[in-house]
């Protein structure tokens, strides 16, 4: 473990923008404190959202983080389940820079669902916290932690958030700091879109593709490497039907006039290419 007091030259200067900057930052080994500056250099964004996000929301976070990483943008998040975990994972998959800021001591394995992910981040990115080792997680600490996430990033991207999500706190803190906030718009009848649509009404920038984030960061959106896997006509038709409205396998087969056996094969093909995900209720949702 490495301790960085405020007067340490390696202490991130961006945190000085806060009214109450952390007195000390703790960084989990094995990262070198000198590498911290490189990990946190601009361009870097925060990607946050609901812990109970939909499978489609998590898939979008993973893909967006991966595409940002491929364009050289770092990704900060909070190592929570759901959107946070998706964002870290997407960055690591593309060997990008990723930093997790915890709401507990850096030695705590919390949440348990992300322990394997935490190990990878500690090895390839950085895990930091303002709380001394051993501090247990507590609900009141997460909003405090969010101010660090907002302050370290050039911009904060909210992917899926309910009306009272902690991700909205991060977004508000980012606005207070004069940083940009981007939000993924959603259908008004989707509970996961309430928070992000609220942000958009308050003036956040809409984000529907990686280019929106790159433009916001002052980068050339042309450098974005958007994946477009080759799929055949019938798979394209299935995907188009799902874009119109997510559906279960049976409904999809009925809409496309396919046997359930043929539909299953196409669904597996698209799932393997990462073009659709299954929600818990069995509905299939396109990721792009």
């Amino acid at each position: 473990m490495i301790e960085l007091p405020r007067d340490d030259p390696r202490y991130p200067t961006r945190l000085d923008d806060l009214a109450d900057p952390p007195a000390t930052l703790y960084v989990r080994e094995p990262v070198q404190p000198d590498a911290l500056g490189e990990l946190l250099r601009p361009p870097i964004v925060a990607i946050v959202g609901s812990r109970n996000a939909s499978a489609a929301g998590i898939a979008f976070a993973t893909r967006l983080a991966g595409e940002l990483a491929a364009s050289g943008v770092g990704v900060i998040s909070g190592l929570a389940r759901g959107i946070d975990a998706g964002a870290h994972q997407g960055t690591l998959d593309r060997s990008g820079r990723t930093v997790a800021v915890l709401g507990c001591g850096i030695d705590r394995d919390y949440p348990s669902a992300t322990i394997p992910l935490a190990r990878r981040i500690a090895a390839e990115g950085a895990i930091l916290s303002e709380y001394p080792p051993g501090t247990p997680p507590a609900p009141f600490r997460f909003p405090e932690r969010n101010r660090i996430v907002a302050a370290l990033a050039d911009a904060t991207i909210v992917i899926e958030a309910a009306a009272r999500s902690g991700a909205l706190i991060t977004a508000r803190l980012a606005l207070d700091l004069g940083r940009d906030v981007l939000a993924v718009p959603g259908a008004p009848w989707s509970s996961g879109a309430e928070g992000t649509n609220l942000l958009l009404k308050d003036g956040a920038l809409p984000l529907t593709a990686v280019a929106d984030a790159l433009v916001c960061l002052g980068l050339d959106p042309g450098t974005a490497r958007v994946d477009d896997p080759a799929i055949d006509a019938s798979a394209r038709r299935v995907l188009a039907a799902l874009r119109r409205e997510p559906a279960s396998a049976d409904v999809l087969a009925a809409r496309c006039g396919l046997t359930s056996s043929a539909a299953a094969a196409l669904i597996a093909e698209l799932e393997l290419k990462g073009l659709l995900v299954r929600e818990l209720d069995g509905r299939l949702v396109p990721t792009a």
Binding site: R51, N52, A53, R81, G82, A113, S248, A249, D250, V251, A253, A254, R255, G257, T259, S260, S261, A262, A263, A264, A265, L266, I267, A268, E269, E271, L272, G274, R278, E279, L280, D281, G282, R283
Partner: protein, 497 residues
Amino acid sequence: MLTRAHAFALTGLDATPVEVEVYTADEPKNACFTIVGLPDKALQEARSRIRSAAFAAGLNTTESLMLVNLAPAEVRKEGAGFDLPIALAVLAGHHQVDERLVDEVAAVGELAFDGRLRPVPGILSIAEAAVRAGRPVLVCPSACAAEAALVPGCRPLGCVSLQHAVRVLKGEQQPEQVDRGATALDEPIPDLADVRGQPSARRALEVCAAGGHNLLLVGPPGVGKTMLAKRLPGILPPLDDEAALLATRIHSAAGVLSPGAGLLRVPPFRAPHHSATTPALVGGGTRIRPGEVTLATGGVLFLDELPEFRRDALEALRVPIEDGHVRISRASGSVQLPARFNLIAAMNPCPCGGGGSSGCTCARERVIAYQRKASGPLLDRIDVGVRLERPAPEVLRVDRPESTATVRDRVFAARERQAARGCINGQIPVDLLDHHAPLDDACTRLVDEAERRLALSPRGLHRIQRVARTIADLAGSDAIAPPHVAEAIAVRLGAIA
């Protein structure tokens, strides 16, 4: 004087010959009736039944000294089936019937106080043992005669009472007529065409029937999980002679065969309640009885409300699912019973039962935890998972369910292809997988991609390969093609959670 009769002790599915020796003397001062030779409680009580039945037959035994020995002494003897052989030997000892006649036949049956004969379980096993022991003539309750007649070589003498049995032995009366033509009262299996609006679930059922794969159905209450499971026996191959005899023997030994039912030809369907104990599921008890897994042999074991089953009971299912048999060990020895069946398990998608969709209040993580925990002990034994929803109107509009007969034809054809390879797909050993279910480059790429993106375990990949083999067999294809593998990936268990 000393008289002999021949009885049988039932252990699991097997019957052992037991010699009944009765020493009778007219000694009113020393009158007694003693049974030795490891008899159980029911057998001890046989003394009252035999005395009363003998009295009904016109013989007062209260002034006699009667010592009964059951040999071999170390075999545990259980149940009321010994009533008739002991009673016959007692009657012979009182010169009511020729002792040589009694010594020549095998006998089984429970006595009522008025001398009537009551049926006992395990007749098929007992008849087989009688033929093997060289006593093909079996004096038995008339309700059991049809079942005994199923055994080649056995000549059952169905009797209604002890008096009747004596008269039949003396040749004074005919035994009850045995209806050899009796076959199982085929309860009609409901048709698959009734399951409207669930095409992928019907397809999953077909794949599982064809390859002997185990299936998990996940869906909210009332969508038709039980309805679907009950239709599986209809598309399974009917039991061949050997399998039918085995199934009948199992049901007979468990005492669940309806009298006069004849051979069981329809694959059995067993649906134990989720409160079932481990011995009820895998067999056991002080008197070893076949459990549900054995009763389901050749057919279907349906576990509805899987998460509600006791965890130890589910753990106990792992070995029979893997090995196709169970071994029940007791102080007196161990018995191996067959247990080869198609498993169908069913569960709600989440703790509240709403199904993760509208009306469900469960958090995502809780739903995943519920599904994992529920299927936990059996997870790695289940090949196919399918999600059921309330049928949407647009599905109902276009869904044209095929009949059981149509699907059964495809299943039979696929089974024949497997028989030619010598191994049912669900049980291809790992080292023979690439021999029986080789994957070409395109298929291998798909499997590799599934391993990478879906984080599948090696075991999960083997399962996909086996299911793909079945899907290719159903399509009548020798080679496994990429769409077969893709469908197998789509119906993998992990796809439901």
